[in-house]
Symmetry: C2
Subunit: 106 residues, 2 copies
């Protein structure tokens, strides 16, 4: 694709808008899938939280988290996703899960 | 499930460990799916970033983000996921995307 800007080439700009629209439509589809997978994930972690509360197990499990991080970093590398981002993402999820587990216990 | 603790009932504790293992296996499957969807999402946003850099468009797009947030909150509600969490998640992704777009531009 040429380096011309919107102002200097109307046709190129129209083509760019089309491509942008298609990419955004794919992003929206992926986001819908992500939201539904996350909903399913939180159903599982909610059940884990209830089980842990019943059996007086601690909300956090550092050994399990370490394994999860190592596994997701490898999966990310294979999928050409930044492993550091995958780790940050898992920590973001775990933070929310622990907050929920504490709420169940509380 | 009974409220007996690990110490007072060995059988109940074994059952709890089994259930926990099954739930964790589901979480691991979902996480693998999430990582692959995220890898695909970043392919799209990478292409958006390159397009924006070529056409000198700003990395952030508040109008688009507002629409995305409203849509994901609705999807989350329908899937019984906390809409506030869905919004936090999208912001987490957008932050990373804007960082990447700035790197492409830079």
């Amino acid at each position: 694709m040429s380096q011309t800007t919107d102002r200097s080439d109307g046709g190129d700009s129209t083509r760019a808008t089309e491509v942008l629209g298609k990419l955004r439509s794919s992003i929206d589809n992926i986001d819908a899938a992500l939201i539904h997978m996350l909903a399913e994930r939180f159903k599982c972690t909610q059940a884990v939280g209830e089980l842990k509360a019943q059996h007086d197990l601690p909300p956090a499990d550092p050994a399990r988290e370490e394994k999860q991080i190592a596994r997701l970093r490898t999966l990310a590398e294979d999928a050409d996703l930044d492993p550091a981002f995958a780790e940050k993402f898992l920590n973001f999820l775990i933070e929310e899960v622990i907050r929920n587990h504490k709420a169940i216990r509380g």
